[in-house]
Each structure stands twice: as C-alpha cells, then as structure tokens.
Subunit: 90 residues, 7 copies
C-alpha cells in the first residue's frame, strides 16, 4: 500500500514531541502552526522537477491547509511543499 502525492505535495508522519533531541524548541504560542514531521513520500514541481526532499527527511512545517489520513493505523498528513519551512539535520 503506497500513497504517491500528486503536484507540489508532501506526505508526512507528524512527530509528537515539540523538543527534538537536537534541541529545536517551538514556543507555546507557535505550537499550533509550526510542527515537526518525517517525510514519507513527495510529489513534484509543475515542470516535472523533483521536490528537494526525500523519504526519511525530518522537516519543520506550517500552514493550515494540511490534510489528515490514517494509514495502517498511523496518522499521516499531506502538506503543500510551500508550507514546509525547513529541513532539519543532526
């Protein structure tokens, strides 16, 4: 079973904790809009080029237009690439 995002979309598994081992902390006031997640699958740009993300990447994302799915019992989110703010590396 695989979900392949279409267009400039990214499928993520959200991370529960607001503080990573690496030390990014999101203030309370920001928790609603900025969250961390792990990339599961990515779509592509309109011109056919790949989005600069791959499965397994840890990202910070925001925006209000994410869509929620449950896949094999696990919560997933589909977000627009423009709402993925940054890639986090250790």
């Amino acid at each position: 079973m695989k979900i392949q995002p279409l267009g400039e979309r990214v499928l993520l598994k959200p991370k529960k904790e607001e503080k990573t081992a690496g030390g990014i902390y999101l203030p309370d006031s920001a928790k609603e809009e900025k969250k961390q997640g792990i990339v599961v699958a990515v779509g592509m740009f309109k011109d056919g080029k790949e989005l600069p993300l791959k499965a397994g990447d840890e990202v910070l994302y925001g925006g209000y237009s994410s869509e929620e799915f449950e896949i094999h019992g696990e919560k997933h989110l589909m977000v627009e690439f423009k709402d993925v703010i940054a890639k986090v590396t250790l």
Copy 2:
C-alpha cells in the same frame, strides 16, 4: 458513449467505502472533503502535456468544485487535477 474531459480535469467514479483493503482510513471530520475514486478519463495540461494519471488509477481527491454526472446509471464526478491529492497503489 465516452466523456472526454477538457482542460486539467479528471473524470472519476467515486468509491463508497472510506476504508480501503490497503488500510487508508479517513477520519469522520475529513469525510466530506477527502474521498477515494477510480479514474475513468483524463484531460491534459494547458501546454498539451498529459496529466500523470490514467484510467483505472485509484486516487484520493478533495476540493469543493467537483461536478456530478450519472452515466448509464452510475454516478461519476469531474474534478480539477489540482484537487486530486494522491495516487494510491497496493
């Protein structure tokens, strides 16, 4: 009898069940906006390139601008490609 979508449109047959064999589950709160369907026919991009979908593909779609038809007694929907969120493969 064939309906050939014009522009960046996709003709779908909606799927009734919200939980697939493969295990995608859409929470109640999301059922109105996110649904599964089977692609029947596809239009094309403005520059003449083909949409990355073909008849028989299983997709997740959203959006509020889909248009309903009944063809030979079966309900069909015409949706904009931008509202087709993902392709589902087993």
Copy 3:
C-alpha cells in the same frame, strides 16, 4: 451570416433534453450549472493555437458567464472555453 467567436470563446446551440441517447443524466440539483450543447464555432487560444473543439462536437458545459443570442430564430450561447467541461462521443 456567421458569428466567429473571438478569444477563448465557443459558440454553442444548447440541447433541451437533460438525458442523452447515450445515457448521461444530470441530476436536478445540477441542471442549472451543467448543460449539453452542440459546438457551432470556436475562437482560439491567446498564442494563436486552435481550441481542441470543432463545429458539430457535443459538449458538456457549465459556468455562469455564458451570453445568449438568437440567430435566425434559434437560441445560441457564447461560453468561455474554460467552462466547457467535456466532449461527449458515442
């Protein structure tokens, strides 16, 4: 007497019946916005390319911006190409 549409416009003769011989049925709730028609004449894209329709094509169209004419006693409609949803073939 000929009316040659300018820009991305399509001149149609509307079809009265909501159910075609081929079996497309438009539900009551949709009759106001989605209708069938026969193409009479077509304009062209801004870059000079032809619209993918020709006189005699049967189409499904929607939208609220169509303009009504009576030509030799017959009702005609000028619609934007973007509001022509699909081409119907038998």
Copy 4:
C-alpha cells in the same frame, strides 16, 4: 482627424438596431451588456502583434468598461479587445 487606440483597445461606432439584416437578435434582458458595432480603428497586443480585427469589421461586444467619445458629431466607443465577443460576417 484620427484616433489611434493604444494597447489592446478597439474603437467602434455603435449600431442602433438590435436585430441585424442577417438575423442576430439580442433578447431584451441582454441589450444592456451585448451590442453590435463597426470597427473604426484597433490597437495591438502587448507583444506587438496585431489584434485580429480591422476597420469595417462588424462585431458583437459586451463589458462595462467602454469609453464614449463624440467625433465630428458621431458617437464612438473605445472598448477592450477582451470585451469584443465575436466578429459577424454575412
């Protein structure tokens, strides 16, 4: 004395009658927005290409942004090319 339209504009002389010899009839409800006119002079597209109209063409036009002039005692109208719906030929 000559008025040369600039940009994507068309200078027209409006036609009084709503029914042409050729038989186009505009319903009462539409008379305010759709009218017939004779092209007097045309501007050009932004890329320098000519508009597909020339002096003497009979056209149907709509829109609310036309501008009125009186030239040598005759009423003229300047309309945007996008509001010229069709060219009428006999």
Copy 5:
C-alpha cells in the same frame, strides 16, 4: 531642467479645452475621467522596449492615478501608459 519618467509612465501637459479643432467631443459625464494632453516625456516597458509615444504626441488619457506637478509654473501630469487610451492625429 528635465523630468525623465521611470517605468511605464508618461509625462503630459493637460489641454484645457474639451473640444479639439479636429472635433473630438467628450460628453459632460465623461469629462472627469477622459482628457486630452500633450506628451512631454515617456518612460519605457519593463523589458527595456520604448513606449509607442514620443514628445509632442497628442493623446486621450483616463484613469484616476495620475500625479500632478508644476514645472516652471506649468501644470504637468504623470500618468501610467495603460491609462493612455489613444493617440490623436490630424
């Protein structure tokens, strides 16, 4: 002393009279928005191409965004090229 318009702007000297020798008459209802002027200096298109006007041209212009200057005691106006409707020649 010279004022060189930047961007797609045109510097004009407005003409007082509403009726030219050549016979263009602007109805009272239109006097506020449509006026005649003489081109003093012109800017250029974004791609570096020249605007199709030169100093001395008589024009009809409209729009509400013109800006007023007094240069050596004479009233001048800076208008956007898109608000210059037509060039008037005798």
Copy 6:
C-alpha cells in the same frame, strides 16, 4: 558603514524643500505622496539586471510603503523602485 538594498529597492536621502532650483513645484495637496530625494544605493531587478538609477541621482518618488532609517544621524528612506516616479536632471 553601508546599506545595500536587496531586491527592487532604492535607498534615498529625502530633500526638505518642495520647490527645486530647477522649478518643480508640488502642490500642497500632493506633498504627502510625492517627494524629492537623492539616491544613495540601489538594489537590482529579480533577473539580476541593474535598476536604471545610480547614487547621486535626484528623483521624485511616491507611495506609502517607504521605510525610514537614521544613518549617522541623517534620515534615510528605503522605497520600492516601482514607487520612484521620475529622474530629475538639470
């Protein structure tokens, strides 16, 4: 100490007087929106091309989105290039 504008921005030193030696006069009603200034530094167009202005140029500018700085005790303004109306030369 240098401030290098980014994007299509222009750094100006405003001129106090509303009437230049050369004779441009801005009517009272216009003083709020149209002012004279001396260019201090310029950014660039998105495609990397230079803005058609250089340090020392005298300009007329308008718009409401200028941003105020004090550099070494002198008031400076950052304005968008699109709000710089004209270059003034003697």
Copy 7:
C-alpha cells in the same frame, strides 16, 4: 543540528540593540516592523539560483510573517527573502 531553510526563506538570529556600532538608528515608530539580524542559513530561489545572502551577513528585515524558533536555547527567526530589506556592511 542544522536547520536548512526551504524555498525563498532566510534563517536569522535577531539582534537586540536598535542602534548598531555603525550608526543605523531605527526610530521608535518603526521598531516593530524593522529589525536587524545575522543570517544563519539561506534557502534558494524557485529556479534553483542562490539567494544573494550567506551565513554571517548582517541584515535589516521587516514584514509580519517571520516564524520564531528556539535552537539550543537561542531565539531564531525564519523570514521570507522578500522581507529582507538590506544587507549592512561596515
């Protein structure tokens, strides 16, 4: 631990003081919208070209859409490149 901005974003560490050694002073009325910061990491333009900034650059930035993070106990901000007004050099 590294945060790599995606899209046309810039990661900054804000500077507390409103007056730099170099002498830029932001008036009280402007303190809310214009601030100084040190670039930590930069994203890229949509066409893949690099933003004209690098880690260590001192910048003036504005806008209301910046997003706040705490990294290893230090406050950081993610801002859109279009809201970075100027680069400050000594």
